[in-house]
Subunit: 120 residues, 2 copies
């Protein structure tokens, strides 16, 4: 079974929509990188049971992203914030080169800090 | 039945998680501002049926927000972007007052444009 690395991201957004058992199994598989056999031993279910549970959870996560599109939306926001941070850094460099207003420096730092904290 | 104005916002985020019938009824009630009686006449169900359908849909939407918290997250992002836009405008004013580097003006405009387009 090939690991779909996107699932780990979907789990961050939509994990609360899974059952506790599904979430546990998917987290062990994707975030802790355990094998199906290790998860089976750990959860007292068969290897096939683990595989089925993961497949069902993946289907739920992919369906949620298709309906709600939050990972896509947050990635667009991240791209915008990266651009804002670059622009602010450029303003900072220009400001240093020509005079260096302290007020501009302060505002540039605030933009970078706020954009960075949204991006976390 | 008091209208919960928050529902309209939740509908924007999570509408795709409702059944088509629930979504129709809730949209008529919250977005088109029809009365229960008008929706009942329009959908050929009883007024009580409309009310029950809206109540169920509201419960689904509120549960989704409690699990996923997207409206809360997006509001935090919006607050951050509003702050970034204010900072960029201040930089623009300082830049005009002291010299007025065209490169800084261009970057300030880009920040305001990018932050505004994320905020839409």
């Amino acid at each position: 079974m090939a690991k779909n690395l996107e699932i780990s991201v979907l789990l961050d957004f939509y994990g609360e929509m899974l059952t506790e058992k599904q979430r546990d199994v998917v987290e062990l598989y994707y975030n802790e990188d355990l094998s199906l056999a290790e998860i089976a031993a750990h959860s007292h279910i068969t290897r096939q049971g683990v595989r089925d549970s993961i497949k069902r959870a993946e289907a739920v996560l992919l369906d949620l992203e298709e309906r709600l599109g939050l990972v896509r939306k947050f990635r667009e926001i991240q791209d915008g914030l990266d651009q804002i941070i670059k622009d602010a850094q450029e303003i900072g460099r220009f400001n240093q080169r020509y005079g260096g207003s302290r007020e501009i420096t302060r505002r540039v730092e605030e933009i970078i800090q706020v954009a960075g904290s949204i991006n976390e």
